[in-house]
């Protein structure tokens, strides 16, 4: 299973490095989103309290939705998803490989978004880098684990571009809320790490639930 997931991840990254299509579109969209909010909300050099946390997660969620759609669109164009499903390994390995590819793309986007949001909203996001990394990784995993399953499920649906956010956002609301609250807790003048730790633990618990359900349902959803 690990070998198959690794092969799929490596293939996805090779295709992306060659075309840079998802990286460019995702980054352009996410940066535009942050800039629009900055122009609208930052008045006379002052940003609204906790605004940076919400805007960071909105940009991640929107960019993630775009990346999810495009990643599976590639597998649909030449029906390569069927060839992947014919691999003689457990089919959830395909899910894991695609999930890791999405996470890699989103982590790349976050590396650009975090300093941009910190600069535009004068937010001390980089004050606790370990905790910020924990929040972003656990939140990204939760969001991408549901998104990867739904994108695979909708790959043959005619209105998949509309259906993906309609299905994805209501289910991932707890992840986004926990991510925003945890990030906002990091931005307080006196950071209470106990609160940050609580939200990170909640994010990890959500990750376990979403990942388990996704691994359990992937094969039946893809073969029927």
């Amino acid at each position: 299973m690990i070998r198959t997931a690794w092969l799929i991840l490596r293939k996805d990254l090779t295709v992306e490095v060659r075309s840079l299509e998802i990286a460019y579109t995702t980054l352009f969209f996410a940066i535009s989103c942050v800039l629009f909010f900055a122009f609208a909300l930052v008045k006379e050099g002052k940003a609204p309290e906790d605004g940076a946390a919400g805007i960071l997660w909105i940009a991640i969620a929107f960019a993630g939705t775009l990346a999810l759609g495009r990643t599976f669109e590639r597998e649909r164009q030449s029906e390569t998803l069927r060839a992947l499903l014919m691999a003689p390994s457990d089919r959830p390995a395909i899910y894991v490989g695609k999930l890791l590819g999405i996470i890699a793309l989103l982590v790349g986007a976050e590396l650009v978004l975090v300093p941009l949001v910190a600069f535009l909203f004068q937010a001390p996001l980089l004050g606790h880098p370990f905790w910020l990394a924990a929040i972003l990784l656990s939140g990204t995993l939760g969001f991408a684990s549901v998104g990867t399953l739904f994108s695979a499920m909708l790959v043959r649906a005619r209105s998949r571009d509309v259906l993906l956010p309609v299905l994805l956002y209501p289910i991932t609301v707890p992840v986004i809320i926990a991510g925003v609250r945890a990030t906002a807790a990091l931005l307080q003048p006196d950071v209470e790490l106990a609160i940050v730790r609580f939200w990170v633990m909640l994010l990890l618990a959500l990750d376990v639930v979403f990942l388990t359900l996704a691994l359990w349902t992937f094969e039946p959803l893809m073969t029927d």
Binding site: T4, L7, I8, K11, T14, V15, R18, S19, R74, Q77, S78, E79, T80, R82, A83, L84, L85, M86, A87, P88, S89, D90, R91, T223, D224
Partner: protein, 235 residues
């Protein structure tokens, strides 16, 4: 890897909601034979191939690979199946060699690079292996796609309209390759509209119409007139 010398479908049906795409189809195909699934659009040929490939589950009936069902055999059964669909299952951004190496590794071939080089030579594209598939003609892509389907030396090969878009030379090469597979003991199931190219190639033909098997013919000859006569009777 699971090996088998017989493929058996027993009363296989497949419904999509209330629509019945395949209705109680039974057949047997043996090692070293080519079975043709022939019929008009919507006859159920692609659905039947998807079920044989384990990509769809039958709503009723069983498909047996030797003595195993796909449920009993699990994932390892898929290492004995190769499929070439109407779409080519290739990544256009990758080179022909990268595509073949990827699928060889995915299907568990021990030396994926050597297997890919041998496959490129068989496809007559030894000098184009480093070119992206997107730069190939339809015929060249089809040749790579066929080698992709065969790279793990499957026992069962499923081909859905493999002659689409091929010129005479490429179609002739494909027919020769299929005869070679038959000689090697492979079970080939071929769904096609192209009766002229299938003429003389099939050991068995199953004529399908609206999801039902209307006739089974062993060693069919004069395929086009047989097809017309059978389909005429079925209307």
């Amino acid at each position: 890897m699971i090996d088998f010398t017989e493929l058996t479908a027993e009363g296989v049906s497949r419904h999509f909601g209330r629509r019945r795409a395949i209705s109680r189809i039974s057949f047997q195909a043996h090692s070293g034979s080519i079975l043709g699934l022939l019929g008009p659009n919507g006859a159920g040929k692609s659905t039947m191939l998807a079920m044989l490939a384990t990509l769809l589950r039958p709503s009723e009936g069983h498909i047996r690979y030797g003595s195993h069902t796909s449920k009993q055999a699990g994932a390892s059964l898929r290492s004995a199946i190769g499929i070439l669909g109407h779409d080519l299952f290739l990544y256009p951004e990758l080179t022909a060699r990268e595509n073949l190496v990827f699928f060889a590794a995915l299907y568990g071939v021990a030396d994926s690079h050597a297997a890919a080089d041998a496959a490129l030579t068989r496809a007559g594209l030894g000098d184009r292996g480093g070119d992206p598939v997107s730069s190939f003609s339809r015929g060249m892509r089809q040749r790579v796609a066929l080698e992709r389907a065969l790279i793990h030396r499957p026992r069962l090969v499923l081909l859905d309209e493999p002659f689409t878009g091929l010129d005479d030379a490429s179609a002739g090469a494909l027919v020769a390759r299929l005869r070679g597979l038959r000689g090697d003991g492979t079970i080939v199931v071929l769904a096609t509209h192209d009766l002229d190219l299938a003429e003389g190639l099939l050991d068995h033909a199953m004529f399908l119409r609206e999801g039902r098997a209307v006739e089974n013919v062993a060693r069919p000859d004069a395929l086009r007139s047989t097809y017309r006569s059978i389909m005429g009777r079925a209307t």
